[in-house]
Structures are given as structure tokens and as C-alpha cells.
């Protein structure tokens, strides 16, 4: 009786070792991150970007809806009237100050949902780590000029 159980245990252990041995023959599933590109899905929400129209005008009209919609208060907008001769945005107003505090943002996407002109979008940049807390406040200049040219993402 005891011997039978002993042998049964041994075969079960053998089975478990078989599973791992099978895995040894498989190709690793690792993505070699810095070398290979990371597979990202189109809806992924990363670092914020402010978009422009094709003619170079800023999309943001300074309505502050994003600021109101943000669950954590990570966006700060100050708006001003456009100069009629040299308008910054096609609307009546534009944003003089547009800042995102990355260390409060939960990347929920409510700002892009709230924006009526699709000016703010969450891009695909996830490599945001840095050394100093002050570097995490994205100013308007940075938001308008992300590393790569403005991509049209998610006009859903």
C-alpha cells in the first residue's frame, strides 16, 4: 500500500518535471525591451501631447474642460483672448498656460474624453522616468512638441 503510494508520488513528480522539461524546449517569451520595440496597442495611454491643426494652429481653445474633468487635479490651464491679427487657436480664446503634473496624473483618459476639440491626447510614450520631481511638470512647450511629430490618435 505504502509502496504503491510512494510510486504514485514518484510518477506525479515525474509528470511535473515533464512539464518543465517541455518548457525548456520552448522559445522564451521575453520581449527584449530596450533593443526591440514594445508591442503597444493603439489605445494605450501614455504621456500627454497637445495637438495642432495642419496649418499650425493650436487646437486647444482654453476651455478648461480637461482641468474640470481630471479626477486628480493634475491639469492646470490659464486662458486668454486670442490676438485677432495673430491667432494662436481658431477659437476666441487660447491657453496661455497649459501644464500637466505627471506625478498626479493617473492616465485615465478623462481629459481627452472631455476635450471638445481633441487637443489633448495621451500618446504612446511610457519612458518618462527621471531624476528630479521638477521635471515632471509638462509645460505647454513640451506638450506641443513631443519627441515625435504629433500623431493623430484615437478620435473615437
Amino acid at each position: 500500500m505504502a509502496i504503491r503510494e510512494f510510486l504514485k508520488g514518484a510518477t506525479e513528480i515525474g509528470k511535473a518535471m515533464g512539464v518543465t522539461l517541455k518548457a525548456l524546449a520552448e522559445q522564451p517569451v521575453t520581449t527584449e525591451y530596450p533593443r526591440d520595440p514594445v508591442p503597444l496597442y493603439p489605445r494605450f495611454r501614455g504621456k500627454h501631447e497637445l495637438r495642432r491643426y495642419e496649418n499650425g494652429m493650436e487646437r486647444c481653445i482654453g476651455c478648461m474642460l480637461c482641468e474640470a474633468a481630471c479626477p486628480t487635479g493634475a491639469i492646470y490651464v490659464e486662458a486668454a483672448e486670442n490676438d485677432p491679427q495673430h491667432p494662436t487657436s481658431p477659437g476666441e480664446r487660447y491657453a496661455t498656460v497649459y501644464e500637466v503634473n505627471l506625478l498626479r496624473c493617473i492616465f485615465c483618459g478623462d481629459c481627452e474624453e472631455a476635450c471638445p476639440t481633441e487637443a489633448i491626447v495621451l500618446g504612446h510614450d511610457f519612458a518618462m522616468a527621471n531624476y528630479n520631481r521638477r521635471d515632471f511638470i509638462l509645460t505647454k512647450a513640451e506638450l506641443l512638441n513631443p519627441g515625435e511629430p504629433n500623431v493623430v490618435i484615437r478620435p473615437e
Partner: protein
Amino acid sequence: MGLEEKLPEGILTTQLETLVNWSRENSTWPLLFGLACCAIEMIATGSARHDISRYGSELFRASPRQADLMIVSGRVSNKMAPVIKRLHDQMSEPKWVIAMGICASAGGPFNNYAIVQGVDKIIPVDVYVPGCPPRPESLLYALDRLRAKQGKETFRTYVDFKAPPLSKQPDEISSLESLRRPQLA
């Protein structure tokens, strides 16, 4: 510190520095220590898909005495803060801290009575990682930034560190560093 305090200055030291920094870059053992959501992504970073072991960092040590890197992964409550401070004190130099996620970096969405608004109020932080929680690749990138920082450190002057030009130039890390690394005479 260990041996390096007793070494003379000179070319040999520079060479040795390079070697030591290289070894520290490639053998940063994190403390097995998770707090909240980010801990799950930290575990995911160790999992087969992202594989932190490529950096030689898969040996998560449970004892702070054997760890080099503390990844503060998640929100730090007021009750937890003294514990984290103590764990950091128990780690032996040289030690680094990554504040993973926005809760650890600045309190994140939990802007309330219970959460310490940024772990840097308790311990000095080397790299902050935004994201809620950051993707595993984000943490790997932070590890890369940390490696860049480790590579620039010297035995004599930990203070004069300037970050390499990656995406943007950080300010001079002055006060924070001087708090942590005693300046040698």
C-alpha cells in the same frame, strides 16, 4: 562604505571606479518589497514576458541587508512610513531608491490624510517613475536611467553627479545627494 574609502587617488582608482560602477550597474538586487498596485507590475517586470533578470536584477532579496535597490512600489501610508524609513536604514550603502508610480513619487491620486505625499519625504529618491501603475517597460526604463546614474558615480564625489543627456537634462541633484552621501574629507 566598503573598501573604497581606503584606496589612494589616481589612475588606478578611476579604473577601479569604472569596474565597480559597472558591477553595480549589472548586479543591482532589489528588495523584495511591494506595497500596492505597482507591486503587481513590479512582479510582472520579473515575469517571463519582461524579465528583469536580463539586467541581473532578478534576485529579489527579502532581507534588506542583502539588497541594493529599494523599489517603492505603491502608496505609502502614514502607518507604513516609519517602516519604510527603517528598511532603508537597514540596507547597506551603496543603495538606491526608485519611486515607482505616482503614489510613491508624489502621493498620486490619493491626495488625502492617509497617504504620505511622496516617499521622498522620508527617504531620498534616485529615480521617479510616473504611471499609475507604470508599465513594466517603464520600470525597466527607470532601471536604465538608474544604471546611467550608477555609471557616473565616483568614490570621492557622489555630489557632482549630472545626468547623462537622455531625454532632458535634470537639474543638478544637489541637496538631496548631499543629505545622503557623506562628503569625504
